[in-house]
């Protein structure tokens, strides 16, 4: 019988398998539709067109600044929130696999991470295209910051998937709780509204010390031609370490029970 660390390492080594699982899921979204995963891009585009108009007026922003800000922020938000939502059903939806054969549970978490990164690249491609056409001056060398940004998001999505996946398979209420929290988080995280509008205590609370805000910053800043804030990486580092410690502890303890809980 394997241990939790063996599960994580062996699972990681089966990148061919989790790559395939993720790829097949993206492929299924293309099946029988013309644009497949780009439907999420379409709905995002409509949202940005409408929210962009409202937000420009509401916060007195210049459209050429506000629209890219909103678009890049929403793209990252969409990826992060989808990762979190899907984490809740990680084991519940895959029981047909691991109740029939022995498999490393971490494979499912890696597949979730990879699938969502692939989904993000769909939106990213459209974003880059639109920006290059309309605001070509927006990009500079700081776009390269996107790579460490995606890396830390990938790193964190795996523990989130394992932690929430395990918690939700045992307590089905957690899923509903997470969805509720996510819905509220969208409004208190600077996605729609520019962070510089807040001052004082509220700024500390919702911008500076909001981990979601940090995760968005590390991708959004490079997409807007800026470098991410150092404080974002500091917060992410803390979240990564704490998250992995907690997850590893719980995963070691409860991994063997997952098959019984589904």
């Amino acid at each position: 019988m394997t241990t939790a660390s063996e599960d994580l390492v062996h699972g990681l080594r089966r990148y061919d398998l989790w790559g395939r699982i993720a790829f097949m899921e993206i492929k299924r979204r293309y099946r029988r539709t013309v644009i497949g995963p780009f439907w999420s891009t379409v709905s995002l585009a409509i949202l940005i067109a409408i929210m962009g108009t409202v937000g420009t007026g509401l916060w007195k922003q210049h459209p050429s600044e506000y629209i890219p800000f909103l678009a890049s922020g929403m793209m990252v938000w969409l990826m992060i929130s989808t990762m979190i939502t899907e984490s809740c059903s990680l084991f519940i939806n895959s029981q047909h696999l691991f109740s029939r054969i022995r498999m490393d549970y971490s494979i499912l978490a890696y597949a979730l991470m990879w699938r969502n990164l692939l989904g993000f690249f769909h939106n990213l491609a459209i974003y880059l295209l639109v920006v290059v056409i309309f605001v070509p001056g927006l990009f500079n060398v700081s776009i390269l910051w996107i790579f460490p940004g995606l890396l830390v998001i990938a790193l964190n999505s795996v523990w989130v998937a394992l932690l929430l996946g395990t918690a939700c398979v045992r307590f089905r209420d957690v899923q509903q709780l997470i969805i509720t929290i996510l819905q509220i988080s969208l409004f208190v995280t600077p996605v729609f509204w520019p962070p510089q509008l807040l001052t004082g205590m509220t700024k500390y609370l919702f911008v500076d010390f909001n981990p979601l805000s940090s995760f968005i910053d590390v991708i959004r800043a490079p997409l807007l031609g800026k470098s991410p804030m150092l404080s974002s990486y500091a917060i992410i580092l803390a979240v990564t370490v704490l998250g992995w410690l907690a997850t590893f502890h719980l995963f070691s303890r409860f991994r063997k029970r997952i098959a019984f809980w589904v």
Partner: protein, 253 residues
């Protein structure tokens, strides 16, 4: 396997965080409730045996006797609640033959994903595709989504995949039977070949002939315990006399 036991917790309506929180808060007081927090079903208890190279074990027992649970513990799907399992070798388990990945995937796609789930690399499984095409005789259907297949065709696909594996320890739960007569015959032939290739095999089946022709050992299970383990013919006759005895006095208990 050393005195292996397996308890399934059965969570019903209580499977909510509220209960767990409540118990943590009030655990000291409601001891009785704490112990009966959920119903457990003992699927296996005190199962001990050892298999060596060349052993072909047939598991016999009526429905619910623990055959499938035992196989799943051997496969590593379930970690035993008590005791321990020591396995030396690569295990391949064929339970539900068609590992339903997604019914929208084509036959080819399903075979590749399922093969990879069973531990092969993509290149390995792709090199076996001609063999799978030949054995399954599904022809053009392999390019169609699996959801368009009939029951028998799904079995054929699943079994074809099983045939290209090179297992060291092979675990099989029922499986063959569906499919037309000709395919069943070929499947059974292939199963014998597989049994020869693998070092150890454990087969759960209700088909006496299959167990007789493949296995050199049998274990009779009842209520999660191994009643007897020994030569195939003796165990099978035990099983049938037991069954006859039960059928003769149905109303007694």
């Amino acid at each position: 396997m050393d005195s292996v036991g397996l308890d399934f917790p059965i969570y019903g309506m209580q499977r909510s965080i509220r209960r767990a929180l409540f118990h943590n808060a009030a655990g000291g007081f409601i001891k009785k409730d704490l112990q009966h927090r959920y119903v457990t079903v003992t699927a296996l208890s005190g199962v001990t045996f050892q298999l060596n190279d060349g052993d072909r074990l047939g598991l016999i027992g009526h429905n619910g006797a623990g055959k499938s649970s035992l196989l799943k513990v051997l496969a590593g799907v379930y970690h035993p609640t008590r005791g321990q399992v020591l396995v030396d070798g690569k295990i391949t388990s064929l339970f539900e033959l068609a590992l339903g990945v997604d019914s929208d995937d084509t036959g080819y796609e399903t075979v590749v994903t399922a093969g990879m789930l069973l531990g092969m690399t993509q290149a390995e499984i792709e090199s076996k595709i001609p063999e799978i095409e030949r054995f399954s005789e599904l022809g053009e259907y392999l390019s169609l989504p699996v959801r368009t297949y009939s029951m028998g065709m799904t079995t054929r696909l699943g079994f074809s995949l099983a045939t290209v594996l090179e297992p060291e320890i092979l675990l099989i739960d029922e499986g063959i039977g569906a499919g037309d007569a000709r395919f069943t015959e070929r499947a059974s032939k292939r199963l014998h070949e597989l049994a020869k290739q693998s070092a150890i095999m454990v087969l759960a089946s209700h088909t006496d002939d299959l167990i007789r022709s493949i296995c050199n050992k049998a274990a009779l299970l009842n209520s999660g315990r191994i009643i007897r383990i020994g030569p195939v013919d003796e165990i099978l006759s035990d099983y049938h006399s037991e069954k006859a005895r039960l059928e003769a006095q149905p109303a007694a208990e």
